[in-house]
Each structure stands twice: as C-alpha cells, then as structure tokens.
Symmetry: C2
Subunit: 502 residues, 2 copies
C-alpha cells in the first residue's frame, strides 16, 4: 500500500536445509503410514482453530504485505475460506470416501488410493491465505491424503506465511503429529527448486504461479518421473452473445466490471478476454464498461513486480494492435497501481495474432475482441489456448441458443469450468468444482486444484492388494466395513455396508 | 519359431500420413462429441464379435509372427481376454458410472469426466492380442471414454495388427461410427513419434514397451503439456520368507518356475528378482529351482531383438557379480531362444550395486539374491526401484509375520500391486486391479493400464458446469437421472436416483 519494504528479514533456504527437510518429511511419512484418516483430520481441524485464534495478526500482516483490503477481503472472505477448506479436508480425511476402496470379491483383488509421499507446495502471490503454500488448497489436499508438506513461502508475503507456520506447528503439537508433517522453506534459487521437485524422496509437487517458473519446475519433475500439478496462466474468455446485450447490457457490464476489478484483477479466474459481436450494442457495451472502469476506484497491486508485469503485458497487447479504451498508464491509485484498463481489438487482428494476443495481463484490465460476425466468434473459440474457465452470456428467451450451440462444443474442450450467465471469479470449494483445465492453464486436464475431495487425488498413489491375507489388509479393504460413513465400491456397486457373504 | 522373416511387406508411415490421421481423428472426435456411451459400447461389442469371427486367422498369424503357442496361449487365453476386455469396456461405456457425475445442488456446480481427444497408442511386442495397440487394454479404455484412437502397429506383429484393423473397420461400419475412430499407422521414426505425442491436436498417449523409447516419447509429450501414460520395465521382486521355505519349499519352487517361464518369461510381471535369506533352506530352494529350470522345455522368444537384449542383460548381471546357477547361453530350443536361466548374487553385492543389478532381463530368467539376514532383506526392499508388482511368500502359521511387517511397509511404497503367496503373472481384468506403479515402472503411480473402468480415467478430462442452464447440461448431469444404472455422486452421496427436490 505504501511501497515501503517490509522491515523483517527472511532467510534464503540453502540446499542443505532443503535436503534435511526432505529427510525429515520422509521420516514423518513413514511414521504416519497406515494412520487412520482421523489423525490427519484432527490436525487439520486444530490448525483451522489455531488460525482463527490468530485472525487479527494474520489479517494485519497480510494487509501490510499484499495491500489487499483487510475487510471484507482478507478477514471476512479469504480467511474463512481458508479455514473452511482445512475443515472440509478434515471431513474428507475422516470419512475416507476419497480413498475409493474398491473390492473385487471374486478375484480377491482390492485397491485403494493412499498417500504418495512428501509433497512440495509452491503457492502464488495473489492469495496470501487461501492458496498459501502452508495453509491453502494444495496444502489441505496433500495433508488430507496423509502426506507431509514442504511449503515454499512466497516472497511477497513471508510474514503471513511464518504466522501460518507457527500456527501449524502449534497444531501438530496439540494433535501428536510429527512436526515434520509441516515444514517451511523460504526463497530458493531455480536450481534448488528443480532439485526439490525431482528428488528421489519427493512424492509430488503442487505449484501455482507464473508460467515461466512453473515450466522450469515441470521439466525437472517430468524428467525424474515425479508428478507435478501446475496452475499457470489463464485469461478466462467470456463470450457475450448478441441477445444478452439486447436483453441486459447494463447488468452484464456491471457484472463484468465487478469481476474484472475484484482484488485489483489479481485473480486466476479474472475475465481477461471478452468476445463480442461487433455492432451498435457491442459499441454501447464497450462504452458502458469504459464508464464503469473510469468511475471505479483504482486498487493497489500486490507489489512492484506485478505492476511491472502488468505494464509489460498491456504494452505487448497494444503493440500487437489492441487499442486503449480506457486506462493504459501506471498510477491513479495508492502504492503500486495501474489505471483500470480496457483494451479493444477487432476480430481479424485477433485471429491473425491469436497467440500473442492471448498474453495474460495479470491485474485490473481486460481485452475486448469485436468479432465481425458469428462465424468469427466461433473461429476465435477455436483459437483459444487451454483456460481454467470459459463463460457464455446469452439471452433468457432462447434467441442466442443456436449460436450458443455452435460455440460451446469448441469452448468446452478448451476450459475446465464452463459457466453460463455468471462471471468466473468466485471459485466455490465444492466437490463438483474444477479449478483446472487443459494446458497451459494447468499441466493435466483431469485434475483440479480446488474442490474437496477431488483435489486430494493429485497427491495419491493407487495401491492394490492381490490375495493379501485378510488381517494384513488396510481396514478399509477388509470385508467388514470399519466405518458406516465410508463409501466403497464392492463388485461394481457403491455401498457403505460390508461385503455380503452369501 | 522358424527364424524366417515374415514375407509380407508393411509400410513405413510418413509424417504427412500421420498428420492426416490426426486431422481425421479430430473430426471424428467432434462428430461423436456428446454421444451417449451406448454408441461406443455398441462398437466395442461388435468389434469383439468381429474378432471372434476371425479367431483362426488371428491365431495363425500371431503364432507365425510371435512364435507364441497357438493353444492354449493365443486361442484359449489371450484372445478371450482381449474380447473380454472389449466387452467389459463396452459395459462401462454403457453404464457410464466411470464418468463419475458429481452434482453440488446447493452451489449448482456439476462435473463429469469426458473424453480427452484423440489418443495415440503404442503397444508392446509381447501380447499381440491383449495389449495390441488397436485391440488391447489401452485401446479399449480410450474408446470407452469416447476418444478416437491412432494405433501404432508393433513391428513384430504387423499382420496380426492388420487383421485387427480390418475387423475394427468392419465394426465401425456396422455400428455407424466414423471410420476415423480407429486408425492404424505403421513403423515411424523416433522424430515422428515425438511429433505425434506432442502435437497440439493429440489428447493423450498410451505407451507400453521398452524404457528407452518410452522416455524419449515422454520427454516430448511432457514438454507440450500432453498426458502420456507409460508402462515401462519392471522386475517384480518376490520375497520368500524363511517360514515359507520351511513349510512348502517345493510348492513355492513350482509356482516360481511356472510363473517365470510362462510365455518364455516375456511378461511385464515376470518374477525377475527373488530375495531369500541365505541358509540351508535357501540353498535347497535354489537347487530345486535349478532342477525345475533344467527340466523345463526352452520356449521360443518373440524375435531376434528379444534374444539379443536378453543376452545383453544376462551378460550385464553376470559381469556385475551374479553367477549362473543354470542356463546362461543362447540356444537349447527352437528359433530364437536362450536356455532357462537362473542367476544368483549375495546380498552384499546386490546392495553395493543395486541399480545395475536391477537391470530388467526380459525373457526366461531370474536373479536370486541371498541376503545374509533379515536386516539385509529390508535393506534390499529399500533399494528397490518402482515396480508393477511386489510379492511376499510367508508361512501360514504366523512365523514370518514379524518379518512381513518389517518389509511390507517399504515394499508397499515401491510397487503398484502387492501380492501374498501368489506369483505376479496373471493380471486379472478387475476394477480393483492396479497394473501400474511408481516410476520407472510407469509414469505416474495413480493410474492403471489394466482394470476397467479404472484404466479409462487416463484418457479423460474433467469437465465442470457452473450455473449452466438445465437443458444445456449433459444428460448425466441433469437433476433427473437418465439411467438407473449410472452411479452419481450427489451432494457427497453415491446414488443411482435423481436429485431429490425438497
């Protein structure tokens, strides 16, 4: 907010320390192997409590470090979301249905998903709580699966991360977890990051952040055959069909403005590309949005680096043919900031330079594409890279249905989450959520980073038991169900009962 | 069998042809998008019928090309397994429970697994039917998910593959499938293989075969962010605990011999490493197995390349300190062949050179490790690479239980399928099967190549619908269940009923 440097100093983690952390994590992994989900659930619940006890400290520190508003954002939205995630993960760990115990009674083959081993988590800059490497979604999913976590603290909120680490340490002590279940490392160089994600002792990695660094880590992990889950860039295309503009232009412009400027546009699901069919209404929509952007306060960006990257991206887009509708310069707010910015480009230009014009601009701005006709809207859909979300606004009386039916099959394949009449920001923590999508939005289109228990599956291995003597089986694979709450797939049917002996 | 070259000639597929195949596959993918599972199921069932109609031709051709026995192996075991897999895949496609429709009624978010797009399949040399790229497990799984397949025919059974392709073509015509749902390419160079698996139009790849080629393809696919599932080498360690030898030495030696020499040892799950505790019984076991190997007929290997690789591997193992118990030379059988071979090495040597002594010897041979004590058995378990299977024989009265409990937690983490008192060959096609395991056995420890419907998940993407209008949802995500057989996860509970409206 003040552009002032944080006064505390934080260490740079050397390789020798990282390796020690890995060895401690392996020991924790061995120590907790076979523990019932309850044990991990107790820790997650306790951790959520410990976080709530530190609410004021956490909110103050995160506000200071990120310039995000203390209220409602940090205190009333992001913190409850974070503790809510931890508690949902606890419930999943306790119920254990996520392990999908599968029993083939005829062949006496049984399988279950279990922990994969120590998980490294690299969190992003934009959610100091909900995606924090030591408290966020990846963390919760990895622990729920029974894996120790080595969290790499993000340099833009080191103090917040330390407070979480202290709360986590306290929670491990209160719940008899080995302290190495949760470890924190600070800034690492690329080389050490690569060594960590490809190390023989690591189980898997979760990374959320910039595409460049993510791809460097991915290359190392892939070479070593170590799973890595990435959440990289996404521009979240929004198609606004002509009938929707006819019907409710102002409402759509309001929704777009709120979504795009929320958190100063620093959301992975910010609507960064809006596709309209050129014409009188599209022009009115652009003018309306322009006015809204102009009237809206300019938020503060997370740090200098975000401001400079945003500036570069806007420059790239304008250099390639986009023109500024409103904004386009740094300033107009407090601290690191940039004017609320809208760019516009015609469909022909977008089609001819579709790759570079899909450059992500992480911040309070968006690009409008004015397609010359419906065919070109479809062509634009075909040129889209993989994204987390894709959105279609259409009129409510069916006038847009034919165009919807043309565009959506193409859009569907390019996005993880398809929305109707709703902007993509606001990622509900739901079992049905997919906060994922085709590369380069993520590294694999079948996994989600948000949504419990689905997100847990990223950090598991499939463990099969063939002819293993009954008393040696994990309890969840024995004939008799150890818990009436756990769903198991027995001979092709989901049930919460035991194996029926005929 | 005769070392004679197959007389027919088969093409080399040039890149221009592969690219055409890809484009046709994309068109097929678009054409079939949204089809109910029934359509794919009808094709799979019909294809199984068409294969059975060609049984004699297929068995004759495969026998000629691979030297595998016509009966029982090809005709009575592998062919029924192949058609059985296709029909199981059909049942899964029809029931659609594999899509795991997940509905969060409160948030109105719904998700489902759907096709990932065209799948390239590279099959291995050792199962001309059950793992054939155009008829085997990967094929069945990819089609069941609704994906077109581009199969790369293996050069060691091109005629068999062509017969399958003809049967598949016939089945597409009979069931109104676009013919490009199933396409066959022949030999490609590494460069074109890499272009295929990393192409923007490919969805994913399934590969079963040698580690070297697999890793080359993996590197290309990974770089492009394209999922690739690999089944590579595995030596399938078998721990025979002292009590088991006390109790039933001859029986275990028989089971080992049968399993190791089955198919002339050319199974991915052949027991290639046997760990014993040195002593009088272990010596007797080695002698008994030696006698069994000596008495057993020497089978024919698939081709010259298998013979020369097997020779090289045995040479590597003996050069590094293993000594020949029996066999150790080419010959003694018909066609390409090598004596039934047992090697032996002491535990200290194995521990000091554990990486090179885990070299896979693909053929009718195995390596015995004589550990000096129980501690060294555990140390050996700790040094194991990722494997498809791991097996423990123990006595039935509990005398080995303490040692079992020490070794298994370590072994469990290193293998996909853990067995008791049963050799690892014989991979049942079961929903609970895991024919997978940690790298380098496969590329990801949470996926299986065998076992329907689990294997289908490799070829899917997660498709989420947020606030999408009811009539636009895929039928399986609508409130009312379209099919009483499909399990859906509604608000955390598995059910075959519709959404309950309160």
């Amino acid at each position: 907010m003040t552009k002032q440097a944080v006064t505390d100093e934080y260490p740079v983690s050397e390789w020798t320390e990282i390796e020690k952390a890995l060895q401690a994590a392996v020991a924790a992994s061995e120590h907790t192997r076979g523990w019932p989900g309850d044990r991990f659930a107790n820790f997650l619940d306790k951790y959520a409590d410990c976080i709530e006890e530190r609410t004021d400290q956490l909110v103050d520190m995160a506000h200071k470090e990120t310039a995000l508003p203390s209220s409602p954002r940090l205190q009333d939205v992001e913190l409850p979301r974070t503790t809510g995630q931890l508690r949902q993960a606890a419930t999943s760990a306790r119920t254990a249905s996520w392990t999908m115990p599968t029993i083939d009674t005829k062949a006496d083959i049984r399988s279950i998903y279990g922990p994969i081993g120590p998980v490294a988590v690299f969190g992003p800059n934009n959610f100091p709580f909900a995606f924090n490497s030591i408290a966020g979604g990846d963390f919760a999913a990895a622990i729920a699966a029974g894996n120790p976590v080595i969290a790499k603290g993000h340099s833009s909120h080191p103090g917040t991360t330390r407070l979480f680490a202290e709360a986590a340490f306290h929670a491990t002590q209160k719940t008899d977890m080995p302290p190495a279940m949760v470890q924190l490392i600070y800034r690492t160089n690329h080389e050490d990051g690569c060594r960590l994600v490809s190390h023989p002792l690591i189980g898997a990695t979760g990374y959320t952040g910039a595409r460049g660094t993510g791809l460097v880590l991915k290359e190392s992990a892939d070479k070593a055959g170590k799973p890595i889950y990435l959440e990289l860039s996404s521009i979240n295309p929004v198609f606004i069909l002509p009938g929707a503009l006819d019907e409710r232009l102002n409402q759509v412009a309001d929704e777009f403005t709120t979504s795009c400027l929320m958190g100063t546009g620093q959301f992975c699901t910010k609507p960064g590309l809006v596709i309209l069919q050129a014409g009188k209404n599209a022009r009115r929509f652009v003018e309306t949005a322009k006015q809204r952007f102009d009237e809206s306060p300019v938020g503060t960006l997370l740090n200098e680096s975000v401001q400079s990257h945003f500036t570069q991206s806007i420059d790239t887009l304008t250099r390639e043919g986009a023109v500024v509708v409103v904004g386009g310069n740094a300033g107009k707010g407090n601290g690191y900031c940039y004017e609320n910015t809208l760019l516009e480009v015609d469909g022909d230009t977008f089609v001819s330079k579709s790759e570079i014009l899909q450059t992500e601009a992480f911040g309070n701005g968006s690009l409008f594409v004015l397609a010359k006709d419906a065919d070109q809207m479809l062509e634009i859909a075909e040129l889209l890279e993989g994204n987390l979300t894709g959105c279609v606004y259409s009129d409510t009386n069916g006038n847009d249905d034919a165009l919807y039916d043309r565009i959506v099959p193409t859009l569907r394949q390019r996005v993880g989450r398809l929305l109707n009449d709703r902007m993509p920001t606001g990622v509900a923590v739901s079992a049905a959520m997919n906060h994922g999508g085709p590369f380069p939005a993520t590294g694999h289109p079948a996994f989600t980073a948000v949504g419990i228990p689905t997100s847990i599956h990223r950090f598991t291995s499939l463990q099969c038991y063939d002819n293993v003597r009954p008393h040696r089986l994990p309890p969840l694979l024995r004939d008799k169900s150890p818990d009436d709450n756990t769903w198991r797939l027995i001979d092709g049917q989901w049930t919460r009962s035991g194996v029926t002996t005929e």
